[in-house]
Amino acid sequence: MDKTAENIKNRFLELGVEIPIENITERLDKLVTKFKVPVDEARRSVIAYFLKEYNIDRNDFFTGQASTPLVKINEVNEGGKWVNIRGKVVQLWDSTHESVSQVGLIGDDTGTTKFIKWARDDVPDVQEGKNYQFNNVVINEWNGRFEITLNKNTVIEEISEDIDVASTALSSPGDGQPAPMVSVADITEDGKWISLKVRVSQLWDNTHESISQVGLIGDGTGTIKFIKWTSAGLPDIEEEKSYLFNNVVAQEWNDRFEVTLNKNSTIEELDEEVDIGTSSVTFSGVMVDVQSGSGLIKRCPTCNRALTKGACMEHGKVDGVYDLRIKAVLDDGNIAQEALLKRELAEQISDMTLDDAISMAADALDQGVVLDQMKLKLLGKYFIVTGSRMDRYILVDSIEQQAELSPETIDELISEAEVL
């Protein structure tokens, strides 16, 4: 922390402002020690405070620093620091978001690190395999790892020197070394290179030209979304066939994991059949909510998506097809579990057929009565469901009301209470 304070002091000194070191240390210490602010964040906050105090423009402070140090990539280990880096663009990844113009790996003889170039910053593109000096880039800490962010003050110069890139322990696919084989359920780390043996369970409609295929793959432990980028140049895969995916990347997106196939990935069709989700789950709990979107709904005749206000997200205004479904929340006192019930099960437990529901809605001139009727019938009752897990839902295969309480259960609980 003393070093951080000194750095701040020196930087302000360069701008002609002398701040007593105690003032800096005191502020830093208060944030870090008393208010448990991470050092980087505290440093940022302290700088912001003094910039305001001495009326200095942020840009003057953060840029034009003659002293921005040239660092090696293994020195990229202090968040918020401005540095210059000489390196080779080892890989360019497919950008997952329009706000990111380029993302990939740069490396030098000490290692490799991720870099991000934002679309808003209007910095020229870099090319894979070429060498550059990046001036005025910022080191950021993101999910416990360091990466380099380019910004509007960044200057990129192509250099003629060919930089040797260290083959590092970073999880990038080395030559001839496929990434480790994992199960779908083990995908828990963002940005990790992995290999999978899976079966394609669904192919979805493609939403963007940069995506060649998107859908759901699975193995015995579960299912996960995959995206195959057009730029990967990989052959198309087919539903219900089993494949070995080598060197794919696990990514976290909106709190969920997916895998992406890029041009370092390979696909091999397998002779063996991979079984999906044989591990079905059982959950017992009270139905505490029947969510909106349940009851009588209409689906798009083309893509089967549920319509909202008579329109399909993909195909616009269409003549929908009636369906019955339940999006339930089951709650066991420790977990609130969402569960999806398709038509047959919805009919079974709510004791009405699709035709009943349609005529009920027609009589009332309101689809909502079906949902009300379901709530009346289902809320507050104990159910057991079995099914397969998909995202935050259980896709229910069977549902039953819980059996009446048995005297044995009561005795067990009583003896449990007695030992306390």
Binding site: V288, D331, K381, E404, L405, T409, L413
Partner: protein, 188 residues
């Protein structure tokens, strides 16, 4: 809605709920959820109760405001439903007493002029259920309460906070659970 997690419906007996008086927020934001911390360390933003609706009364002056009393083996819950709980209010207006009801709701507290904290439930939904469901709930609530009592030795910050506030003695709650369970045996 990224990061949104639905609050779990906790299982609390009426006696423990009535004896709870510590509320806190998980953050400084005005939208941070409010919790009621119970003597056995349950952190409650939503609860599920099944019991017998034994009284109901419209205590509203200009618009309907329904008060109900729902009893379980250990005591009773007060529930209040007005214009902001239209479905629950309508249910209370139309239903007969006594009746077995299942309620999903939010805890709410009121501090009297003397400084006593009164707890009540603001229903999100009420439905009619049968006696079997009521028994399942008693066993379910007994089980969850026992789990919490066992966890009272843990270093969980909520447990520590609960013990600091209510005292570490939990014998009354284990005997409460036992009695609730015994009452089930008499019924069957």
């Amino acid at each position: 809605m990224a990061g949104y997690v639905r609050e779990v419906s906790r299982r609390i007996f009426a006696q423990e709920f009535r004896e709870s008086n510590l509320t806190f927020k998980d953050g400084d934001d005005q939208y941070s959820p409010q919790y009621l911390l119970t003597p056995t360390g349950a952190k409650v933003n939503r609860l599920f109760i099944v019991g017998t609706l034994i009284e109901k009364e419209d205590i509203g002056t200009d618009s309907e405001y329904w008060r109900g009393r729902v009893s379980d083996p250990t005591g009773s819950f007060m529930i209040y439903a007005g214009q902001y709980q239209p479905e629950a209010a309508q249910f209370l207006a139309e239903c007969e007493t006594p009746a077995f009801v299942a309620i999903v709701g939010k805890p709410s507290t009121y501090t009297t002029a003397e400084g006593t904290v009164l707890t009540s439930v603001r229903p999100e939904s009420i439905s009619l259920v049968d006696g079997a469901t009521r028994d399942l709930w008693v066993a379910d609530t007994a089980k969850r309460t026992l789990e919490r009592i066992k966890d009272l030795d843990s270093m969980d910050p909520n447990v520590i906070k609960a013990k600091e506030h209510y005292g570490a003695d939990n014998t009354q709650y284990s005997s409460m659970v036992k009695e609730a369970l015994r009452s089930l045996k008499e019924d069957i």
